[in-house]
Amino acid sequence: MSHGTEAPPGADFEPTTWTGSARKKWMSTLPPEKMLPESQPSYVASWIYVFGMLTIVAMIIAIVSGVVITLGGVQWFHESSIGKFMNSLHYWSVQLFFLFMVVHLWGKYWMAAWRGKRALTWATGVLAFLTAVGVGFTGYVITTNFNAQWIAFEAKDVMNAIGVGSVFSVTNLGQMVTFHVAPLPIALVLIVAAHVLLVRKHGVVPPIDAIDHDAVAPAAAETETSEVVS
Protein backbone atom coordinates (compact mmCIF):
# COMPACT_ATOMS: atom_id res chain seq x y z
CA MET A 1 0.00 0.00 0.00
CA SER A 2 1.40 3.39 -0.94
CA HIS A 3 1.13 6.48 1.20
CA GLY A 4 1.59 10.20 0.65
CA THR A 5 1.21 12.33 -2.46
CA GLU A 6 1.43 10.68 -5.85
CA ALA A 7 4.19 11.89 -8.12
CA PRO A 8 2.86 13.68 -11.22
CA PRO A 9 2.76 11.22 -14.14
CA GLY A 10 5.25 11.71 -16.92
CA ALA A 11 4.89 10.89 -20.59
CA ASP A 12 5.68 7.26 -19.82
CA PHE A 13 2.85 7.04 -17.28
CA GLU A 14 1.13 3.68 -17.68
CA PRO A 15 -2.27 3.72 -15.99
CA THR A 16 -3.50 0.66 -14.15
CA THR A 17 -7.01 1.93 -13.34
CA TRP A 18 -9.99 3.43 -15.17
CA THR A 19 -9.29 6.68 -13.37
CA GLY A 20 -5.66 6.66 -14.48
CA SER A 21 -6.67 5.89 -18.06
CA ALA A 22 -9.16 8.75 -18.03
CA ARG A 23 -6.49 11.09 -16.65
CA LYS A 24 -4.00 10.05 -19.30
CA LYS A 25 -6.55 10.51 -22.06
CA TRP A 26 -7.58 13.92 -20.73
CA MET A 27 -3.98 15.10 -20.34
CA SER A 28 -3.03 14.01 -23.85
CA THR A 29 -6.16 15.55 -25.40
CA LEU A 30 -6.38 18.72 -23.38
CA PRO A 31 -3.11 19.45 -21.60
CA PRO A 32 -3.11 22.60 -19.40
CA GLU A 33 -1.36 24.67 -22.09
CA LYS A 34 -4.32 24.00 -24.40
CA MET A 35 -6.98 24.51 -21.74
CA LEU A 36 -5.53 27.75 -20.37
CA PRO A 37 -3.19 29.08 -23.05
CA GLU A 38 -1.04 32.17 -22.67
CA SER A 39 -0.70 32.62 -26.39
CA GLN A 40 -2.81 32.36 -29.51
CA PRO A 41 -1.94 32.24 -33.21
CA SER A 42 -1.25 35.78 -34.41
CA TYR A 43 -4.22 35.66 -36.83
CA VAL A 44 -6.63 35.64 -33.87
CA ALA A 45 -6.80 39.41 -33.99
CA SER A 46 -10.26 40.59 -34.95
CA TRP A 47 -13.34 41.77 -33.05
CA ILE A 48 -15.27 38.84 -34.45
CA TYR A 49 -13.36 36.54 -32.08
CA VAL A 50 -14.78 38.33 -29.05
CA PHE A 51 -18.36 37.23 -29.71
CA GLY A 52 -17.86 33.66 -28.50
CA MET A 53 -16.71 34.91 -25.10
CA LEU A 54 -19.46 37.56 -25.05
CA THR A 55 -22.04 34.82 -25.67
CA ILE A 56 -20.74 32.82 -22.72
CA VAL A 57 -20.73 35.74 -20.27
CA ALA A 58 -24.24 36.80 -21.35
CA MET A 59 -25.33 33.21 -20.72
CA ILE A 60 -23.76 33.32 -17.25
CA ILE A 61 -25.66 36.53 -16.42
CA ALA A 62 -28.89 34.99 -17.75
CA ILE A 63 -28.37 31.89 -15.59
CA VAL A 64 -27.59 33.86 -12.42
CA SER A 65 -30.56 36.23 -12.86
CA GLY A 66 -32.76 33.27 -13.81
CA VAL A 67 -31.82 31.39 -10.64
CA VAL A 68 -32.77 34.44 -8.56
CA ILE A 69 -36.11 34.74 -10.39
CA THR A 70 -36.74 31.03 -9.84
CA LEU A 71 -36.35 31.59 -6.09
CA GLY A 72 -39.03 34.30 -6.25
CA GLY A 73 -41.40 32.35 -8.51
CA VAL A 74 -42.81 33.02 -11.97
CA GLN A 75 -45.21 35.74 -10.81
CA TRP A 76 -42.72 37.56 -8.59
CA PHE A 77 -41.90 40.15 -11.21
CA HIS A 78 -45.53 41.29 -11.48
CA GLU A 79 -45.66 42.34 -7.84
CA SER A 80 -42.15 43.36 -6.75
CA SER A 81 -39.85 46.08 -8.08
CA ILE A 82 -36.85 43.89 -7.24
CA GLY A 83 -38.49 41.02 -9.07
CA LYS A 84 -39.16 43.30 -12.03
CA PHE A 85 -35.52 44.43 -12.11
CA MET A 86 -34.30 40.84 -11.92
CA ASN A 87 -36.66 40.00 -14.77
CA SER A 88 -35.23 42.91 -16.76
CA LEU A 89 -31.67 41.68 -16.14
CA HIS A 90 -32.75 38.23 -17.31
CA TYR A 91 -34.56 39.63 -20.36
CA TRP A 92 -31.71 41.82 -21.57
CA SER A 93 -29.01 39.25 -20.88
CA VAL A 94 -31.00 36.80 -23.01
CA GLN A 95 -31.41 39.38 -25.77
CA LEU A 96 -27.66 40.04 -25.77
CA PHE A 97 -26.90 36.33 -25.52
CA PHE A 98 -28.78 35.64 -28.74
CA LEU A 99 -27.37 38.72 -30.47
CA PHE A 100 -23.80 37.69 -29.63
CA MET A 101 -24.48 34.06 -30.48
CA VAL A 102 -25.94 34.83 -33.90
CA VAL A 103 -23.02 37.16 -34.75
CA HIS A 104 -20.60 34.45 -33.53
CA LEU A 105 -22.38 31.80 -35.59
CA TRP A 106 -22.44 33.80 -38.81
CA GLY A 107 -18.86 34.92 -38.21
CA LYS A 108 -17.81 31.29 -37.98
CA TYR A 109 -19.78 30.42 -41.09
CA TRP A 110 -18.03 33.04 -43.22
CA MET A 111 -14.68 31.95 -41.74
CA ALA A 112 -15.53 28.32 -42.67
CA ALA A 113 -14.52 27.45 -39.15
CA TRP A 114 -15.26 23.74 -39.61
CA ARG A 115 -12.07 23.25 -41.60
CA GLY A 116 -9.36 20.91 -40.27
CA LYS A 117 -11.49 18.30 -38.46
CA ARG A 118 -13.57 20.92 -36.67
CA ALA A 119 -16.95 19.72 -38.01
CA LEU A 120 -18.02 18.56 -34.55
CA THR A 121 -17.20 21.98 -33.12
CA TRP A 122 -19.47 23.52 -35.75
CA ALA A 123 -22.24 20.95 -35.11
CA THR A 124 -22.17 21.53 -31.33
CA GLY A 125 -22.45 25.26 -32.03
CA VAL A 126 -25.58 24.73 -34.14
CA LEU A 127 -26.97 22.39 -31.49
CA ALA A 128 -26.27 25.00 -28.80
CA PHE A 129 -28.23 27.57 -30.83
CA LEU A 130 -31.18 25.19 -31.22
CA THR A 131 -31.18 24.33 -27.52
CA ALA A 132 -31.00 28.03 -26.66
CA VAL A 133 -34.07 28.63 -28.84
CA GLY A 134 -35.87 26.01 -26.73
CA VAL A 135 -34.76 27.69 -23.50
CA GLY A 136 -35.86 31.10 -24.80
CA PHE A 137 -39.22 29.78 -25.97
CA THR A 138 -40.05 28.09 -22.66
CA GLY A 139 -39.00 31.30 -20.93
CA TYR A 140 -41.55 33.31 -22.90
CA VAL A 141 -44.45 30.93 -22.16
CA ILE A 142 -43.90 31.10 -18.40
CA THR A 143 -44.02 34.89 -18.08
CA THR A 144 -47.68 34.68 -16.95
CA ASN A 145 -48.72 37.71 -19.03
CA PHE A 146 -50.25 38.35 -22.44
CA ASN A 147 -47.09 37.28 -24.28
CA ALA A 148 -47.25 33.95 -22.48
CA GLN A 149 -50.95 33.50 -23.29
CA TRP A 150 -50.59 34.25 -26.97
CA ILE A 151 -47.30 32.46 -27.59
CA ALA A 152 -48.50 29.32 -25.77
CA PHE A 153 -51.82 29.36 -27.63
CA GLU A 154 -50.12 29.68 -31.03
CA ALA A 155 -47.18 27.40 -30.32
CA LYS A 156 -49.39 24.54 -29.18
CA ASP A 157 -50.55 24.16 -32.79
CA VAL A 158 -46.97 23.63 -33.97
CA MET A 159 -46.22 21.16 -31.16
CA ASN A 160 -49.45 19.26 -31.79
CA ALA A 161 -48.88 19.27 -35.56
CA ILE A 162 -45.48 17.58 -35.20
CA GLY A 163 -46.86 15.06 -32.73
CA VAL A 164 -45.09 16.15 -29.53
CA GLY A 165 -47.98 18.09 -27.99
CA SER A 166 -49.15 15.02 -26.13
CA VAL A 167 -45.96 14.94 -24.03
CA PHE A 168 -44.71 18.53 -24.33
CA SER A 169 -47.71 20.71 -23.53
CA VAL A 170 -46.79 24.38 -23.95
CA THR A 171 -50.07 25.43 -22.32
CA ASN A 172 -49.09 23.61 -19.13
CA LEU A 173 -47.34 26.25 -17.02
CA GLY A 174 -45.98 23.76 -14.47
CA GLN A 175 -44.40 21.60 -17.15
CA MET A 176 -42.91 24.58 -18.98
CA VAL A 177 -41.37 25.97 -15.79
CA THR A 178 -39.70 22.62 -15.21
CA PHE A 179 -38.31 22.52 -18.75
CA HIS A 180 -37.12 26.12 -18.55
CA VAL A 181 -35.25 25.88 -15.26
CA ALA A 182 -33.79 22.38 -15.38
CA PRO A 183 -33.34 20.07 -18.42
CA LEU A 184 -33.04 22.68 -21.16
CA PRO A 185 -30.56 25.08 -19.50
CA ILE A 186 -28.53 22.13 -18.16
CA ALA A 187 -28.39 20.70 -21.69
CA LEU A 188 -27.38 24.10 -23.03
CA VAL A 189 -24.54 24.48 -20.52
CA LEU A 190 -23.27 20.97 -21.28
CA ILE A 191 -23.37 21.56 -25.04
CA VAL A 192 -21.62 24.92 -24.70
CA ALA A 193 -19.01 23.28 -22.45
CA ALA A 194 -18.44 20.55 -25.06
CA HIS A 195 -18.18 23.23 -27.74
CA VAL A 196 -15.58 25.20 -25.78
CA LEU A 197 -13.54 22.07 -25.00
CA LEU A 198 -13.54 21.18 -28.71
CA VAL A 199 -12.32 24.68 -29.54
CA ARG A 200 -9.53 24.32 -26.98
CA LYS A 201 -8.67 20.84 -28.26
CA HIS A 202 -8.42 21.75 -31.94
CA GLY A 203 -7.34 25.36 -31.56
CA VAL A 204 -8.68 28.31 -33.51
CA VAL A 205 -9.00 27.49 -37.19
CA PRO A 206 -6.27 29.04 -39.38
CA PRO A 207 -7.23 31.59 -42.04
CA ILE A 208 -8.54 30.32 -45.36
CA ASP A 209 -5.44 30.03 -47.60
CA ALA A 210 -3.11 30.43 -44.63
CA ILE A 211 0.58 29.99 -45.32
CA ASP A 212 2.21 26.74 -44.24
CA HIS A 213 4.89 28.39 -42.13
CA ASP A 214 6.82 25.11 -41.81
CA ALA A 215 7.29 25.13 -45.55
CA VAL A 216 8.67 28.67 -45.61
CA ALA A 217 12.49 28.89 -45.44
CA PRO A 218 13.57 30.32 -42.07
CA ALA A 219 15.50 33.15 -43.71
CA ALA A 220 12.45 34.16 -45.70
CA ALA A 221 10.10 33.95 -42.75
CA GLU A 222 9.01 37.35 -41.67
CA THR A 223 10.12 38.46 -38.21
CA GLU A 224 7.15 39.24 -36.03
CA THR A 225 6.81 42.30 -33.87
CA SER A 226 7.45 42.33 -30.13
CA GLU A 227 3.89 41.22 -29.36
CA VAL A 228 4.64 37.88 -30.94
CA VAL A 229 5.87 35.28 -28.50
CA SER A 230 7.08 32.55 -30.81
Binding site: A45, N87, W92, Y109, W114, V126, T171, N172, H202, A210
Partner: protein
Protein backbone atom coordinates in the same frame (compact mmCIF):
# COMPACT_ATOMS: atom_id res chain seq x y z
CA UNK B 1 -10.44 22.82 -55.67
CA UNK B 2 -9.67 19.17 -56.37
CA UNK B 3 -10.45 16.49 -53.85
CA UNK B 4 -6.74 15.83 -53.23
CA UNK B 5 -5.84 19.45 -52.67
CA UNK B 6 -8.89 19.85 -50.41
CA UNK B 7 -7.71 16.88 -48.34
CA UNK B 8 -4.18 18.27 -48.18
CA UNK B 9 -5.42 21.70 -47.07
CA UNK B 10 -7.70 20.14 -44.47
CA UNK B 11 -4.78 18.15 -43.10
CA UNK B 12 -2.82 21.39 -42.84
CA UNK B 13 -5.70 23.19 -41.09
CA UNK B 14 -5.94 20.27 -38.64
CA UNK B 15 -2.25 20.40 -37.69
CA UNK B 16 -1.15 22.29 -34.59
CA UNK B 17 -0.34 25.86 -35.61
CA UNK B 18 3.37 26.41 -36.15
CA UNK B 19 3.22 29.99 -37.36
CA UNK B 20 3.62 33.16 -35.32
CA UNK B 21 1.76 33.55 -32.05
CA UNK B 22 0.72 36.47 -29.89
CA UNK B 23 0.13 36.94 -26.17
CA UNK B 24 -3.34 35.98 -25.04
CA UNK B 25 -4.97 35.83 -21.61
CA UNK B 26 -8.25 33.92 -21.78
CA UNK B 27 -9.20 34.61 -18.15
CA UNK B 28 -8.53 38.34 -18.52
CA UNK B 29 -10.63 38.43 -21.68
CA UNK B 30 -13.43 36.61 -19.86
CA UNK B 31 -13.28 38.96 -16.87
CA UNK B 32 -13.36 42.07 -19.07
CA UNK B 33 -16.22 40.62 -21.14
CA UNK B 34 -18.16 39.80 -17.99
CA UNK B 35 -17.69 43.34 -16.70
CA UNK B 36 -18.69 44.98 -19.98
CA UNK B 37 -21.76 42.80 -20.56
CA UNK B 38 -22.87 43.17 -16.93
CA UNK B 39 -22.73 46.97 -17.25
CA UNK B 40 -24.63 46.77 -20.54
CA UNK B 41 -27.33 44.52 -19.09
CA UNK B 42 -27.77 46.67 -15.99
CA UNK B 43 -27.94 49.84 -18.10
CA UNK B 44 -30.51 48.36 -20.50
CA UNK B 45 -32.57 47.08 -17.56
CA UNK B 46 -32.48 50.44 -15.78
CA UNK B 47 -33.32 52.36 -18.95
CA UNK B 48 -35.94 50.13 -20.55
CA UNK B 49 -37.16 47.64 -17.92
CA UNK B 50 -38.86 44.59 -19.51
CA UNK B 51 -42.19 43.76 -21.17
CA UNK B 52 -45.16 42.75 -19.05
CA UNK B 53 -48.54 43.27 -20.72
CA UNK B 54 -51.14 41.89 -18.31
CA UNK B 55 -52.79 38.60 -19.20
CA UNK B 56 -56.31 38.77 -20.61
CA UNK B 57 -59.17 37.60 -18.40
CA UNK B 58 -62.57 36.06 -19.06
CA UNK B 59 -64.06 39.00 -17.20
CA UNK B 60 -62.43 41.39 -19.67
CA UNK B 61 -63.61 39.31 -22.61
CA UNK B 62 -67.21 39.12 -21.36
CA UNK B 63 -67.25 42.87 -20.66
CA UNK B 64 -65.54 44.03 -23.87
CA UNK B 65 -67.01 41.54 -26.36
CA UNK B 66 -70.16 40.07 -24.77
CA UNK B 67 -71.71 38.92 -28.06
CA UNK B 68 -68.57 37.05 -28.97
CA UNK B 69 -68.34 35.50 -25.49
CA UNK B 70 -72.01 34.45 -25.70
CA UNK B 71 -71.70 32.93 -29.17
CA UNK B 72 -68.55 31.02 -28.22
CA UNK B 73 -70.39 29.48 -25.26
CA UNK B 74 -73.11 28.34 -27.66
CA UNK B 75 -70.52 26.87 -30.04
CA UNK B 76 -68.89 24.97 -27.16
CA UNK B 77 -72.27 23.40 -26.36
CA UNK B 78 -72.87 22.66 -30.04
CA UNK B 79 -69.42 21.14 -30.55
CA UNK B 80 -68.55 23.52 -33.39
CA UNK B 81 -65.85 25.63 -31.70
CA UNK B 82 -62.18 25.50 -32.59
CA UNK B 83 -61.43 23.37 -29.54
CA UNK B 84 -64.36 21.01 -30.04
CA UNK B 85 -63.21 20.24 -33.59
CA UNK B 86 -59.43 20.40 -32.92
CA UNK B 87 -58.42 16.74 -32.81
CA UNK B 88 -55.57 15.20 -30.81
CA UNK B 89 -54.36 15.63 -28.14
CA UNK B 90 -57.66 17.19 -26.94
CA UNK B 91 -60.32 15.09 -28.68
CA UNK B 92 -60.86 12.67 -31.53
CA UNK B 93 -60.26 14.01 -35.04
CA UNK B 94 -57.67 14.11 -37.79
CA UNK B 95 -55.83 17.35 -37.12
CA UNK B 96 -53.23 18.49 -39.64
CA UNK B 97 -51.13 16.22 -41.82
CA UNK B 98 -47.89 16.11 -43.73
CA UNK B 99 -49.01 14.28 -46.84
CA UNK B 100 -50.03 10.82 -45.67
CA UNK B 101 -48.42 11.36 -42.26
CA UNK B 102 -50.83 12.46 -39.52
CA UNK B 103 -48.24 13.08 -36.79
CA UNK B 104 -50.85 14.84 -34.69
CA UNK B 105 -52.73 11.58 -34.21
CA UNK B 106 -49.73 9.53 -33.15
CA UNK B 107 -49.75 10.64 -29.51
CA UNK B 108 -53.47 10.03 -29.09
CA UNK B 109 -55.88 12.02 -26.91
CA UNK B 110 -53.72 12.69 -23.86
CA UNK B 111 -55.36 15.93 -22.68
CA UNK B 112 -59.08 15.23 -23.15
CA UNK B 113 -61.31 18.29 -23.44
CA UNK B 114 -65.10 18.01 -23.58
CA UNK B 115 -65.94 21.54 -24.68
CA UNK B 116 -69.61 21.52 -23.58
CA UNK B 117 -68.99 20.12 -20.14
CA UNK B 118 -65.54 21.55 -19.39
CA UNK B 119 -66.21 25.05 -20.69
CA UNK B 120 -69.91 25.60 -19.93
CA UNK B 121 -71.78 23.01 -17.88
CA UNK B 122 -69.15 22.33 -15.18
CA UNK B 123 -68.37 26.04 -14.51
CA UNK B 124 -72.11 26.84 -14.36
CA UNK B 125 -72.72 23.89 -12.03
CA UNK B 126 -69.97 25.08 -9.69
CA UNK B 127 -71.90 28.25 -8.82
CA UNK B 128 -75.20 29.11 -7.17
CA UNK B 129 -77.11 30.19 -10.25
CA UNK B 130 -80.35 32.16 -10.75
CA UNK B 131 -83.51 30.05 -11.09
CA UNK B 132 -83.69 30.18 -14.88
CA UNK B 133 -80.08 29.02 -15.25
CA UNK B 134 -80.53 26.27 -12.62
CA UNK B 135 -83.63 25.07 -14.44
CA UNK B 136 -81.76 25.17 -17.77
CA UNK B 137 -78.96 23.07 -16.28
CA UNK B 138 -81.47 20.50 -15.03
CA UNK B 139 -83.14 20.33 -18.45
CA UNK B 140 -79.79 19.99 -20.23
CA UNK B 141 -78.52 17.26 -17.91
CA UNK B 142 -81.77 15.30 -18.20
CA UNK B 143 -81.75 15.38 -22.01
CA UNK B 144 -80.13 12.79 -24.26
CA UNK B 145 -76.85 13.63 -26.01
CA UNK B 146 -78.66 13.77 -29.36
CA UNK B 147 -81.22 16.19 -27.99
CA UNK B 148 -78.49 18.38 -26.47
CA UNK B 149 -76.68 18.52 -29.80
CA UNK B 150 -79.92 19.27 -31.68
CA UNK B 151 -80.78 22.24 -29.42
CA UNK B 152 -77.25 23.62 -29.35
CA UNK B 153 -76.58 23.00 -33.04
CA UNK B 154 -79.79 24.74 -34.12
CA UNK B 155 -79.16 27.69 -31.84
CA UNK B 156 -75.53 27.98 -32.90
CA UNK B 157 -76.61 28.08 -36.56
CA UNK B 158 -79.27 30.69 -35.77
CA UNK B 159 -76.75 32.86 -33.89
CA UNK B 160 -74.16 32.64 -36.65
CA UNK B 161 -76.85 33.50 -39.23
CA UNK B 162 -77.16 36.97 -37.67
CA UNK B 163 -73.61 37.92 -38.68
CA UNK B 164 -73.39 40.96 -40.92
CA UNK B 165 -70.82 41.59 -43.65
CA UNK B 166 -68.23 42.58 -41.03
CA UNK B 167 -68.82 39.37 -39.10
CA UNK B 168 -70.52 41.18 -36.22
CA UNK B 169 -73.36 39.23 -34.61
CA UNK B 170 -76.80 40.68 -33.86
CA UNK B 171 -78.16 38.56 -31.05
CA UNK B 172 -81.43 40.47 -30.90
CA UNK B 173 -82.15 39.20 -34.42
CA UNK B 174 -81.79 35.47 -33.75
CA UNK B 175 -84.63 33.57 -35.40
CA UNK B 176 -87.11 32.00 -33.00
CA UNK B 177 -87.00 28.25 -32.61
CA UNK B 178 -86.84 25.35 -30.22
CA UNK B 179 -83.45 25.77 -28.64
CA UNK B 180 -84.30 24.16 -25.30
CA UNK B 181 -82.16 25.43 -22.39
CA UNK B 182 -79.25 26.62 -24.57
CA UNK B 183 -80.03 30.38 -24.56
CA UNK B 184 -80.37 30.37 -20.75
CA UNK B 185 -77.13 28.43 -20.35
CA UNK B 186 -75.30 30.92 -22.59
CA UNK B 187 -76.81 33.86 -20.70
CA UNK B 188 -75.76 32.27 -17.41
CA UNK B 189 -72.21 31.79 -18.72
CA UNK B 190 -72.06 35.41 -19.89
CA UNK B 191 -73.24 36.62 -16.48
CA UNK B 192 -70.57 34.48 -14.83
CA UNK B 193 -67.97 35.86 -17.20
CA UNK B 194 -68.96 39.47 -16.55
CA UNK B 195 -68.82 38.98 -12.78
CA UNK B 196 -65.33 37.47 -12.96
CA UNK B 197 -66.52 34.12 -11.64
CA UNK B 198 -65.46 32.36 -14.84
CA UNK B 199 -61.81 33.15 -14.23
CA UNK B 200 -61.93 31.37 -10.89
CA UNK B 201 -64.19 28.51 -11.95
CA UNK B 202 -62.16 27.63 -15.01
CA UNK B 203 -58.73 28.30 -13.54
CA UNK B 204 -59.32 26.25 -10.40
CA UNK B 205 -61.28 23.52 -12.21
CA UNK B 206 -62.59 22.38 -8.84
CA UNK B 207 -59.14 21.77 -7.40
CA UNK B 208 -57.06 23.59 -4.83
CA UNK B 209 -53.81 23.41 -6.80
CA UNK B 210 -53.69 23.95 -10.55
CA UNK B 211 -50.70 24.60 -12.79
CA UNK B 212 -52.09 23.56 -16.18
CA UNK B 213 -53.65 26.41 -18.19
CA UNK B 214 -54.60 24.30 -21.21
CA UNK B 215 -58.38 24.54 -20.83
CA UNK B 216 -58.44 28.26 -20.08
CA UNK B 217 -56.22 29.01 -23.07
CA UNK B 218 -58.23 26.82 -25.42
CA UNK B 219 -61.48 28.51 -24.43
CA UNK B 220 -59.94 31.99 -24.61
CA UNK B 221 -58.61 31.16 -28.08
CA UNK B 222 -61.99 30.02 -29.35
CA UNK B 223 -63.20 33.61 -29.24
CA UNK B 224 -62.03 36.69 -31.11
CA UNK B 225 -60.96 38.63 -28.00
CA UNK B 226 -57.39 37.31 -27.71
CA UNK B 227 -57.01 37.14 -31.48
CA UNK B 228 -58.07 40.78 -31.89
CA UNK B 229 -55.63 41.87 -29.20
CA UNK B 230 -52.84 39.94 -30.92
CA UNK B 231 -53.70 41.57 -34.26
CA UNK B 232 -53.63 44.99 -32.62
CA UNK B 233 -50.12 44.23 -31.32
CA UNK B 234 -48.82 42.81 -34.64
CA UNK B 235 -48.50 39.35 -33.16
CA UNK B 236 -50.19 37.36 -35.91
CA UNK B 237 -48.04 34.78 -37.63
CA UNK B 238 -48.34 36.46 -41.05
CA UNK B 239 -47.08 39.78 -39.62
CA UNK B 240 -43.90 38.26 -38.14
CA UNK B 241 -45.82 37.65 -34.91
CA UNK B 242 -43.81 34.56 -34.08
CA UNK B 243 -40.80 36.73 -33.31
CA UNK B 244 -42.60 39.85 -32.09
CA UNK B 245 -43.87 40.48 -28.60
CA UNK B 246 -46.41 42.88 -27.11
CA UNK B 247 -45.16 46.48 -27.18
CA UNK B 248 -41.97 48.01 -28.59
CA UNK B 249 -39.56 45.29 -27.54
CA UNK B 250 -36.98 43.34 -29.51
CA UNK B 251 -38.96 40.09 -29.26
CA UNK B 252 -37.56 36.74 -30.30
CA UNK B 253 -35.52 37.90 -33.29
CA UNK B 254 -33.68 34.61 -33.25
CA UNK B 255 -36.85 32.97 -34.57
CA UNK B 256 -36.57 34.86 -37.87
CA UNK B 257 -35.58 31.62 -39.63
CA UNK B 258 -38.93 30.16 -38.54
CA UNK B 259 -41.12 33.24 -38.86
CA UNK B 260 -40.14 34.00 -42.44
CA UNK B 261 -41.99 30.96 -43.79
CA UNK B 262 -45.29 32.15 -42.35
CA UNK B 263 -45.05 35.32 -44.49
CA UNK B 264 -45.17 33.40 -47.78
CA UNK B 265 -48.46 33.59 -49.75
CA UNK B 266 -48.52 29.77 -50.10
CA UNK B 267 -49.19 29.53 -46.38
CA UNK B 268 -51.64 32.45 -46.24
CA UNK B 269 -54.53 31.43 -48.49
CA UNK B 270 -57.73 33.46 -48.33
CA UNK B 271 -60.60 31.90 -46.38
CA UNK B 272 -62.45 30.94 -49.56
CA UNK B 273 -59.35 29.60 -51.34
CA UNK B 274 -59.29 26.01 -52.54
CA UNK B 275 -56.75 23.64 -54.04
CA UNK B 276 -53.07 23.41 -53.17
CA UNK B 277 -52.81 26.75 -51.32
CA UNK B 278 -55.75 25.69 -49.13
CA UNK B 279 -53.97 22.43 -48.29
CA UNK B 280 -50.66 24.20 -47.66
CA UNK B 281 -52.28 26.83 -45.44
CA UNK B 282 -54.35 24.34 -43.45
CA UNK B 283 -51.27 22.20 -42.81
CA UNK B 284 -48.76 25.10 -42.62
CA UNK B 285 -47.48 24.27 -39.13
CA UNK B 286 -46.40 20.73 -39.92
CA UNK B 287 -45.12 21.58 -43.42
CA UNK B 288 -43.02 24.47 -42.13
CA UNK B 289 -41.75 22.28 -39.29
CA UNK B 290 -40.62 19.71 -41.87
CA UNK B 291 -38.88 22.41 -43.92
CA UNK B 292 -37.11 23.67 -40.80
CA UNK B 293 -35.92 20.20 -39.82
CA UNK B 294 -34.48 19.80 -43.32
CA UNK B 295 -32.78 23.21 -43.16
CA UNK B 296 -31.35 22.62 -39.70
CA UNK B 297 -29.96 19.21 -40.65
CA UNK B 298 -28.42 20.86 -43.71
CA UNK B 299 -26.95 23.65 -41.60
CA UNK B 300 -25.54 21.17 -39.08
CA UNK B 301 -23.87 19.18 -41.85
CA UNK B 302 -22.61 22.28 -43.69
CA UNK B 303 -18.95 21.09 -43.48
CA UNK B 304 -19.83 18.13 -45.71
CA UNK B 305 -22.14 19.78 -48.23
CA UNK B 306 -20.44 20.99 -51.44
CA UNK B 307 -21.49 24.48 -52.37
CA UNK B 308 -22.69 25.41 -48.92
CA UNK B 309 -19.24 24.77 -47.45
CA UNK B 310 -17.58 26.61 -50.34
CA UNK B 311 -19.65 29.80 -50.09
CA UNK B 312 -17.25 31.46 -47.61
CA UNK B 313 -14.46 31.05 -50.17
CA UNK B 314 -16.57 32.37 -53.05
CA UNK B 315 -17.82 35.38 -51.07
CA UNK B 316 -14.58 36.26 -49.29
CA UNK B 317 -15.82 38.13 -46.23
CA UNK B 318 -13.09 36.28 -44.33
CA UNK B 319 -10.54 38.64 -45.85
CA UNK B 320 -11.88 41.34 -43.55
CA UNK B 321 -11.31 39.13 -40.51
CA UNK B 322 -7.77 38.11 -41.44
CA UNK B 323 -6.71 41.19 -43.37
CA UNK B 324 -3.65 41.79 -41.13
CA UNK B 325 -2.50 38.20 -41.49
CA UNK B 326 -2.89 38.27 -45.29
CA UNK B 327 -1.11 41.63 -45.45
CA UNK B 328 1.87 40.31 -43.51
CA UNK B 329 2.08 36.78 -44.85
CA UNK B 330 0.14 36.69 -48.10
CA UNK B 331 -2.09 33.77 -49.10
CA UNK B 332 -1.36 30.20 -50.14
CA UNK B 333 -2.41 30.18 -53.76
CA UNK B 334 -2.07 26.50 -54.61
Amino acid sequence: MSRESRKARNAFYARPWTGPNRHYDILKEGAIALGVVTILVVALSALFSSPDDPALTFKGWAADAPDNFYSVMVSELAGTSGTATYGPPYNEGDGVSLGPLTLQKWGGVTHPVDSANDFVITPLSSQVEPNDVSAALKTWNAASADQQLKWAGDYDAAVQATADDNGDLHLDAVATGDYGPVPDLAKGALAMGTSGAYDNALTGQGQFFQTDQTKQLLLMGDGSYMDDRATELNLQGNTWGMMNEAGSWPGQQWLAFTSVWYQLPWFNAADDATGITRTLTDNADVIIAAILVLLLVTFTFTPFIPGLRDLPRWIPLHRLVWKDYYKKHGRQTS
